[in-house]
Symmetry: C2
Subunit: 122 residues, 2 copies
Amino acid sequence: VTAVGKVNLAEKLAQFDEHWAPRIVAEANGQEIRVAKVKGEFVPHHHTEGDEVFLVLKGKLRIEMGNRSVELREGELLVVPRGVEHRPVADEEAHLLVIDPASARNTGNVRDERTRDRLERI
Amino acid sequence: VTAVGKVNLAEKLAQFDEHWAPRIVAEANGQEIRVAKVKGEFVPHHHTEGDEVFLVLKGKLRIEMGNRSVELREGELLVVPRGVEHRPVADEEAHLLVIDPASARNTGNVRDERTRDRLERI
């Protein structure tokens, strides 16, 4: 049985400043619940492992998908389906909760200098 | 491919007043993302289908598990592992985001007057 302890999202986010480097804060049913600080334009990518959920905790996030774009504010979430190319963009720093299959790499099918093959558990 | 549309959690919560009757607002990787309004003491129960995630969006939630109790405030989450008996209690109305396997019934292994065999998708 997994240890049962609560997670304060703001406290977790206060533990790091790095952008685009999600930290794992909880696991459930093969999914990882991650928090991330983001700013600027990320690399367009997709995930073959599964769907990805973005929930904005602070600030704003734009998710560009081909010729579409979805703007998320605090308290808004988006599910990006498996295989759909997306590019997260934040004009100012934003704080996110992200849910991915445990195996999913942050840059999906792409490898660049922001790729993290192993995410830290905090 | 699932439709891609954003979900504003506060707008979804404004659509109903019923307590302990979660609404489904999104799906990802076999999990349902649900929102719920709760107040009072729920029935102690467990889920055989999988783990359950509680994230408090507004107010406070106490989750009693045997002789332990975890108090969650806004921005705090808890994963209740599969099979662990838990009793959610909210002294005042609280608003929650809850993540469950798509098959999971709100009252888990218990059936009472608050059981919802089918949850509404809003």
